[in-house]
């Protein structure tokens, strides 16, 4: 009787851990979507602060950091590095992107391109650049949602199924 309970408990543990591993494997997909969505909101707010208030980037990023739970800490560090007034903008910007691991290579490429032009021209050109980046982010978000929907479900399903199979074998 005792050994049956042990087997059941062991099997439950195996299923739970494989399901957990499955969820873990899906996490990057979900985090990418959430991070890109936050970036999109951030850029829209940034556009307002640049266009309407002509707020310098340091202040504008300081402002948008407050409403951005995922990237807020990295934005704050970025602002601090800009405050040091020692480096060119692009170097600081690239380090900032490095501090956001949830971004994938394609996402980084779009934001890196934005960093090359951010702050370097008048308001109308800034608006165009930000709108172009927003369009790219929207495309990436659609892509990331699709991946979350499909690839992001495959891993958990396979791992959970493997766990169940292992449990059956154990029993």
């Amino acid at each position: 009787m005792m050994s049956l309970w042990m087997k059941l408990a062991g099997s439950a543990l195996v299923v739970a851990s494989t399901a957990g591993l499955g969820r873990l494997s899906a996490r990057p997909y979900a985090e990418r979507v959430a991070t890109l969505e936050e970036w999109l909101r951030l850029l829209r707010r940034l556009a307002t602060l640049i266009e309407w208030k002509r707020m310098p980037l340091r202040e504008a990023f300081g402002e948008v950091a407050r409403g951005s739970p995922r990237v807020g800490a990295a934005v704050t560090r970025f602002v601090q590095e800009l405050n040091a007034r020692d480096e060119d903008f692009l170097s600081v910007w690239r380090r900032f992107l490095d501090n956001i691991p949830q971004l994938w290579e394609d996402d980084r490429a779009v934001l890196d391109e934005l960093g090359r032009t951010l702050g370097r021209s008048d308001v109308s050109h800034q608006r165009e650049q930000l709108q172009a980046a927003e369009r790219e982010l929207e495309r990436l978000i659609a892509e990331a949602r699709w991946q979350r929907q499909h690839e992001g479900r495959l891993g958990p399903a396979l791992l959970t199924a493997a766990g169940i199979m292992l449990a059956i074998v154990l029993l």
């Binding site: 640049i50 002509r54 707020m55 310098p56 980037l57 340091r58 800009l82 007034r85 020692d86 480096e87 060119d88 903008f89 951010l118 702050g119 370097r120 021209s121 008048d122 308001v123 050109h125 800034q126």
Partner: protein
């Protein structure tokens, strides 16, 4: 803060290590492509040398310096750049030389920057009081005045101190500070300004002179309006409007003598109609702010 504090390293570090005796009298730094950065002080000048500095200033380095000075936000400073300058917090001026990019006959931006000139703005207390005493001697009431001098003659410094004296003396003054030089917007101390302009003084920072004067007249009820560097026809028209409204105006202009001013139609119209009670001429010799002559309207035109 000194203007040098806004430079990126290694320039900031190099200026910090300039000999104390010279540092305290340092007035400006000039960066020119292909030459070493150069320091200018009261009666001296020398190249800026430091182990960490490049031998000469490169174009890329100038771009980096401008990037840092504009807070990496050119869009916020385009109006200033188009006029060939930047104002740093505290009222310090950065002159910019480069190639103008025109759009429809108007300068749209400046590219290929070839030189920069960072000039410190310092408050000098005392000459404003002395001038006020002279202008109001023999129970003469406070009037409208034009302070004239060649560039670097000390007129902005004198106007700033005169505003402080009047502001502390109970006059309600509005300063229309188009280039943020008079009040030093964004400086540390004095309610967000770099300079003390007196207790009863309000500042319209960044307003073009004509619009600023109109807003002052409509909404701030000033007894005196102070503006720096009259130049365009619209500036003189705005001064006219203020004078018609019974408000005194104290302004500055680039000119060495009345003869030089006589070539400017806008000035002559205003002067002959009594728009200014006196023109105060300053000289940079032996030092900036030296009072050369006060020409009273009542003494003949």
């Amino acid at each position: 803060m000194d203007p040098w504090s806004y430079l990126p390293n290694p320039w900031r570090l190099a200026v910090d290590e300039v000999a104390r005796t010279r540092f305290t009298t340092l007035e400006e730094i000039r960066f020119r492509i292909g030459r070493p950065a150069h320091l200018y002080g009261a009666g001296w000048n020398q190249p800026l040398r430091h182990a960490s500095l490049p031998e000469t200033v490169s174009s890329a380095e100038l771009d980096r310096i401008v990037g840092v000075l504009t807070d990496h936000s050119v869009y916020a400073r385009v109006e200033e750049l188009c006029q060939g300058y930047l104002t740093l917090p505290g009222g310090h001026r950065v002159g910019i030389a480069g190639r103008a990019v025109s759009d429809g006959g108007r300068v749209a931006t400046v590219r290929q920057i070839t030189s920069l000139n960072l000039r410190v703005a310092r408050a000098v207390k005392g000459p404003g009081e002395a001038l006020y005493q002279r202008l109001t001697a023999n129970e003469r009431p406070l009037g409208s005045y034009l302070i004239a001098s060649p560039p670097r003659g000390g007129k902005t410094t004198l106007l700033r101190d005169l505003v402080r004296v009047l502001g502390d003396g109970g006059w309600r003054i509005v300063v229309v500070d188009e280039r943020s030089e008079l009040a030093g917007f964004g400086g540390t101390g004095h309610s967000g300004f770099g300079f003390d302009l007196g207790y009863h003084t309000d500042v319209l920072d960044g307003w073009p002179k004509p619009e600023g004067i109109q807003v002052a007249l409509r909404t701030l009820g000033p007894e005196v309006i102070a503006v720096d560097e009259l130049g365009a026809m619209q500036d003189y028209a705005a001064v006219w409007q203020a004078r018609y409204s019974g408000v005194r105006v104290i302004a500055t202009v680039h000119a060495r003598s009345l003869d030089e001013l006589r070539y400017r139609k806008d000035f002559i119209g205003l002067w002959e109609a009594g728009g200014f009670d006196a023109v105060v001429f300053l000289s940079a010799d032996p030092r900036p702010g030296t009072l050369q002559q006060i020409l009273w309207w009542s003494d003949g035109r």
